[in-house]
C-alpha cells in the first residue's frame, strides 16, 4: 500500500495551527522529499473562531487536498474534538490539549491527552509556542516525518530570532510522549 497520511490540526484562531500545517507539509515535501499539501479553513474573525489546518502526505499525486479520513487529529479545543473526532479513521490517533479538552470521545482510535499549552507556558515560558509543543508530540506519535526534516522546517518557517525557543518547545512536545 502506498503512503497516504491525513492530518487535521484543529482549534481556535490564533493558536498557530496554520503555521504547524505549513511546517509539517514543508518537512514532508521538501526535507523528506515526499509529496504534501496543506490547506486551511477559518472564519472571518482576525482571532478566535474555529480554525483548521489540514496536511496530506503521500508518495504519489494528491488529487483532493482536503482531509476526509484522518490518520491523526490534533484537537486544541473541546469544540474541535466534538466536531472532528468522527472523521478519524479506525486505528487513528487523536492528540488533545488536556487543558481545554475534557470530554474524550469513544471510538476505534487512541486518544493521547497532554497538557500542551501548560508545558508551553510553564516549561518554555511562552504560551505562544503551544503549537510547536503539539508538533513535537505529533512527530513522535505519527512517525511519518523524520525529526531532522521537522527541525529544518521549523528553523525555516518560524520568525527569525525565535528558532531556539521553538526547538525547545518541539523537544518538550516529544518528551510528553516519552513520559
Amino acid at each position: 500500500m502506498s503512503l497516504h497520511y491525513e492530518i487535521r490540526l484543529s482549534g481556535a484562531g490564533g493558536q498557530g495551527l496554520i503555521l504547524v500545517g505549513k511546517i509539517l507539509a514543508e518537512a514532508a515535501a521538501i526535507y523528506d522529499e515526499k509529496n504534501a499539501t496543506q490547506s486551511q479553513s477559518y472564519g472571518p474573525e482576525a482571532r478566535g473562531g474555529a480554525s483548521r489546518s489540514e496536511v496530506i502526505i503521500s508518495d504519489g499525486d494528491i488529487d483532493y487536498p482536503k482531509a476526509t479520513n484522518l490518520d491523526l487529529l490534533l484537537a486544541m479545543t473541546q469544540e474541535a474534538m466534538d466536531k472532528y473526532s468522527g472523521d478519524v479513521k479506525s486505528g487513528g490517533i487523536i492528540v488533545a490539549d488536556s487543558e481545554f479538552v475534557h470530554n474524550k470521545p469513544e471510538g476505534d482510535f487512541t486518544v493521547y491527552s497532554f497538557p500542551i499549552t501548560q508545558v508551553a507556558e510553564n516549561e518554555i515560558g511562552k504560551k505562544l509556542v503551544a503549537n510547536i509543543v503539539a508538533l513535537g508530540a505529533i512527530e513522535h506519535l505519527s512517525g511519518i516525518i523524520s525529526e531532522d526534516a521537522l527541525l529544518s522546517a521549523i528553523r525555516a518557517r518560524v520568525p527569525k530570532g525565535t528558532e531556539d525557543i521553538n526547538i525547545r518547545a518541539f523537544k518538550a512536545g516529544q518528551a510528553l510522549v516519552q513520559k
Partner: protein, 378 residues
C-alpha cells in the same frame, strides 16, 4: 537563478511569482480575502524587481490604475475576490473596448455580496464572462493546482499581450490558499510574449488600424505616437464614431479576434477511460474532487472519463460536443448551482444526459458526492 526551484508554494503566491516571471512590473489593487496574499507578496517582490506596487482606494480605482499602467507600456495585474470583482466590471469593459492588455485575478469566495469571505465558491463563472455590459471579448482561465496557477498566470499575460484583451484567472479559495510542492522552471527558459508595437512613421499611425491579424499594434504612451483612448465606440483613429458601418466593423473585429484565435486560446485536458459511459466535465478545484472520484470509481471497476476545462471562456463547445458523443451521461461538479452545467447542456446538444453535483455551503465538493452520483448512474 538558473536552477529549477522546488519549494512549497501557495496558489496566491504562484500568481504573484508567475506574474513576475511573465514580465509584469505593475500591480494595483485593494486587498480582499481570499486574494490578499497576492497583493502582500507583490508589495515586497515588485520593488525588488524594479516594479511598482500601488494600493488604491478601492477596486474601481485599482482596475483603472492597471489600465493606465498597461497604456504606459508596462504589463499590469490586479487581484481581488467577489465583491471587488463586481466593482471592477465597469473598467473591465473599458479594457475590452479600448483593447488594453491587463490580467485580473478573482479568487472566488462564496457570494452574493460580501457572502462568505473565507470559504470557497465557483459562483463567478458567468460574471467573469458577462459581468460587464455589452458584447465584449474576454478570456477566462481556471487553474486546478498551484503549478498550473503559475503557468496560467504567464499564459494569461502572454494572451492579453498578443490579443490585446483582458484575461481573467478564476481561482477559488481552495486553489488560492492551498500549499503544494512545485518545481518552477528557471526564469530564463520561460517564454513571454510582448505586445506588437507600431513601426510606421508617426504621422501615418492610426491607433486602431488592424491588419489581417485583427490586432492593431500598440505603442506605449510616451513612445511618440499620438493616440486617443476612449470607452466610446471608435473608428481606427481612436476617436468616437456614430458611423454605423464603422461601429459594426469595430465591434465585429474586437469580438471576432477571439473567434479567429479560438483554437490556440481554448485549452482542455481530456482523460478517456476505455468503455466509459460516464464523463465528468470539470474545472478549478472541483477537478481535484473529480479526479479523486474517478479513482474511487476505477477501484470499483467503473470506468469514468474526464474533460477538464483549463480555458473556461471562450467556452470549449466543440470539445464538449465530441466528449458528449462518447458518453451517455455527463456529470458537472461545481461550487455553484450549475453555471457551467447549463453551458455544457447547450454544447452537448442532447447527445448525453447531464447531471450536476453542486455545493454552495462553503464546503469543497466531497469526492464521495461525485462518486455516489457515478454509482447511481452506472
Amino acid at each position: 537563478m538558473s536552477e529549477n526551484r522546488t519549494l512549497m508554494m501557495q496558489g496566491n503566491v504562484a500568481v504573484a511569482e508567475g506574474a513576475i516571471d511573465a514580465g509584469c512590473r505593475f500591480f494595483a489593487g485593494y486587498p480582499i480575502t481570499p486574494s490578499s496574499e497576492i497583493a502582500e507578496h507583490l508589495s515586497r517582490r515588485l520593488p525588488e524587481m524594479g516594479g511598482k506596487f500601488l494600493q488604491m482606494e478601492d477596486e474601481i480605482g485599482a482596475m483603472g490604475a492597471v489600465i493606465g499602467g498597461s497604456l504606459g507600456g508596462v504589463k499590469s495585474l490586479t487581484a481581488t475576490s467577489g465583491p471587488g470583482f463586481s466593482l471592477k466590471q465597469e473598467n473591465i469593459g473599458y479594457a475590452s473596448i479600448a483593447e488594453v492588455p491587463v490580467v485580473i485575478i478573482n479568487v472566488m469566495r462564496g457570494g452574493p455580496s460580501t457572502g462568505l469571505p473565507t470559504l470557497p465558491s465557483q459562483g463567478d463563472v458567468m460574471q467573469a464572462r458577462w459581468g460587464t455590459h455589452g458584447d465584449h471579448p474576454i478570456i477566462v482561465l481556471t487553474p486546478a493546482g498551484v503549478r498550473e496557477t503559475y503557468d496560467m498566470t504567464i499564459r494569461a499575460f502572454n494572451m492579453s499581450e498578443k490579443y490585446r484583451v483582458p484575461v481573467v484567472i478564476l481561482l477559488d479559495e481552495i486553489i488560492g490558499h492551498v500549499y503544494e510542492k512545485v518545481t518552477l522552471p528557471p526564469p530564463h527558459t520561460i517564454e513571454t510574449i510582448e505586445r506588437k508595437k507600431p513601426d510606421e512613421p508617426l504621422e501615418k499611425f492610426r491607433a486602431y488600424r488592424a491588419d489581417e491579424s485583427m490586432i492593431p499594434p500598440m505603442p506605449a504612451f510616451g513612445d511618440g505616437y499620438r493616440f486617443h483612448v476612449t470607452g466610446l465606440v471608435h473608428d481606427e483613429t481612436g476617436f468616437p464614431t456614430n458611423n454605423t458601418q464603422k461601429i459594426e466593423e469595430m465591434l465585429l473585429r474586437i469580438n471576432g479576434k477571439l473567434d479567429h484565435y479560438r483554437d490556440e486560446i481554448v485549452e482542455v485536458e481530456e482523460h478517456i477511460e476505455e468503455g466509459s459511459q460516464i464523463g465528468l466535465v470539470t474545472y478549478g478545484s472541483s477537478a481535484r474532487s473529480s479526479r479523486n472520484a474517478m479513482r474511487m470509481a476505477k477501484e470499483q471497476g467503473i470506468p469514468v472519463s474526464m474533460l477538464r476545462l483549463k480555458t473556461i471562456w471562450p467556452f470549449a463547445t466543440e470539445e464538449i460536443l465530441a466528449f458528449a458523443k462518447k458518453h451517455k451521461y455527463l456529470i458537472v461538479p461545481e461550487l455553484n448551482l450549475g453555471q457551467v452545467k447549463h453551458e455544457v447542456e447547450h454544447a452537448a446538444a442532447c447527445h448525453s444526459e447531464i447531471f450536476g453535483v453542486n455545493k454552495i455551503s462553503g464546503d469543497p465538493i466531497p469526492p464521495t458526492d461525485i462518486f455516489n452520483k457515478i454509482k447511481e448512474l452506472s
